[in-house]
């Protein structure tokens, strides 16, 4: 019988939540790496038992962990992330040049077809690749050095490369997104990059339509329609139908167009999910009501999904990597909160129930659909 495995990264460890295809009864394993920040855990699409985890702490820096048995046991992999050449500077918060310094891995993106190939998005923003299961890492410097790098500035959470999308049709096409630089695309397997931010508007930068400088929070792509991208930005929900060449706003009737995650129904490329957050200063849901918003029209028109979610006194946040979908016939949707809840819906968002309520603050949620 099919099932799902939910991989949860939190401020104080990783958890693996498993259920059969009904998604009613859940087994909770963890914490793995207790006490460490787990920014991201993700499985290889080519081998369901190969998982990668980013483990870090203020005391001891970065560790990469790898599992070959679906998260039951783990082994440390390589943790040496050296920028290619002399990394130079980006802008600091006060506008002065600041040396590029590795801080942590925010996001791990395993290859679609080789379990030993995995990409890492890091802070300070850079893209790394491993071809030996995470044992050694090499930077793809074309992104950091494409020209605008010295003008990039960190967002409030640091200058992080948090989104990596490997195109399912064009094997040499990749997307990356950086806070607060924007979205970038490569058409040569990551060797060279260019910004793809036309149509974005950000009032917090001097030129609101600048080529770079936008605080992109998350980008989602549906494998059946890879030329269409959906973006949750610092403010605004956006859509591109030409692989990022241009964007248009689709915030429509959302109660707030600020938020972090965005994801797409596994079988309906025009069904999109976001979690509106009040503002950049107030990182909690509008009116203390936790609502997922779903558009079935590819944006502009949104409906609140509230059944099973707290509708009063709720002041948690949902971070950029903390939402995912499974690919069962009835698409499951999952998200985690900074209050430690992981909510699941087995009916495409119509109703929700918590899998767990009291984990440490959730940083990331990924889902594997098991045969």
């Amino acid at each position: 019988m099919s099932g799902v495995r939910v991989l949860v990264g939190t401020r104080k460890g990783a958890f693996v939540l498993t259920a059969d295809g009904k998604r009613d009864d859940w087994a909770v394993a963890g914490p793995f790496f207790g006490g460490w920040e787990i920014y991201h855990v993700k499985g290889s699409p080519a081998d369901q038992d190969r998982l990668y985890a980013s483990q870090s702490s203020g005391w001891s820096g970065q560790v990469i962990q790898r599992s070959d048995d679906g998260g039951r046991t783990w082994e440390p992999a390589g943790n040496k992330f050296s920028y290619d050449g002399t990394p130079g500077t980006h802008q600091w918060y006060d506008g002065t040049p600041h040396p590029w310094e590795f801080a942590r891995v925010w996001h791990l993106e395993p290859s679609r077809d080789d379990p030993d190939v995995v990409y890492a998005g890091v802070e300070d923003a850079g893209l790394f690749r491993s071809a030996d299961g995470g044992t050694s890492w090499q930077e793809l410097p074309g992104l950091r050095t494409h020209g605008s790098g010295p003008s990039w500035q960190p967002g409030a959470g640091g200058m992080c490369l948090h989104t990596i999308i490997l195109d399912p049709v064009k094997p040499d096409r990749m997307y990356a997104a950086i806070s607060a630089a924007g979205a970038f695309r490569s058409d040569d397997a990551g060797q060279s990059w260019r910004p793809v931010n036309q149509g974005l508007r950000s009032e917090g930068i001097p030129d609101s339509a600048a080529e770079v400088g936008h605080c992109v929070h998350r980008i989602a792509q549906h494998p059946a329609r890879p030329g269409t991208l959906f973006m949750q930005k610092h403010w605004d929900v956006m859509r591109s139908d030409n692989a990022g060449e241009s964007w248009r706003e689709i915030s429509g009737n959302l109660p707030s167009d600020f938020g972090f995650p965005i994801d797409i129904h596994a079988h309906e490329p025009d069904t999109v999910y976001v979690v509106p957050i009040t503002s950049d200063a107030e990182h909690f849901p509008p009116d203390g009501r936790l609502r997922v918003y779903r558009s079935r029209t590819g944006g502009d028109e949104w409906e609140p999904l509230t059944k099973g979610l707290p509708q009063e006194h709720c002041y948690v946040n949902v971070l950029r990597d903390a939402m995912a979908v499974d690919s069962l016939d009835d698409c499951g949707v999952y998200f985690g909160t900074t209050g430690g809840q992981v909510y699941a819906s087995s009916d495409a968002g119509d109703s929700w129930a918590p899998i767990v309520r009291d984990l440490p603050a959730v940083l990331s949620v990924e889902v594997q659909t098991l045969p």
Binding site: W59, S60, G61, V63, P76, N79, K80, S82
Partner: protein
């Protein structure tokens, strides 16, 4: 020259990462300095590379401290010879997670 046996105490999170219980006994050839002890430690437990010292610069990570014989050696020259009580195996060399985080 006979290798010195040095006792190293790791903070709990690094003992768990390296999968060691209690103290670590290390054989250190040549001059027993902070650098040679940490080199030997990382050679025995490669998973600790980068968790105590930066892999690029070799510098102590900001929130890691080094103590021995009731002294804070964190700011001492890493190539200074350690106290005789440490090199003689009577006192441990302590790798400490600094009090941080409130």
């Amino acid at each position: 020259m006979t290798a010195a046996t040095i006792t190293v105490v790791l903070p709990a999170h690094l003992r768990k990462l390296a999968r060691v219980d209690g103290r670590v006994e290390l054989a250190v050839d040549g001059a027993v300095t902070q650098r040679s002890v940490l080199d030997a430690l990382e050679s025995r437990y490669p998973v600790l590379r980068g968790t105590i010292r930066d892999q690029e610069t070799g510098r102590r990570r900001a929130f890691i401290r080094f103590f021995a014989c009731q002294e804070d050696l964190s700011h001492e020259d890493p190539d200074d010879v350690l106290p005789a009580l440490v090199t003689g195996g009577k006192e441990p060399y302590l790798v400490v997670a600094a009090m941080a985080g409130g």
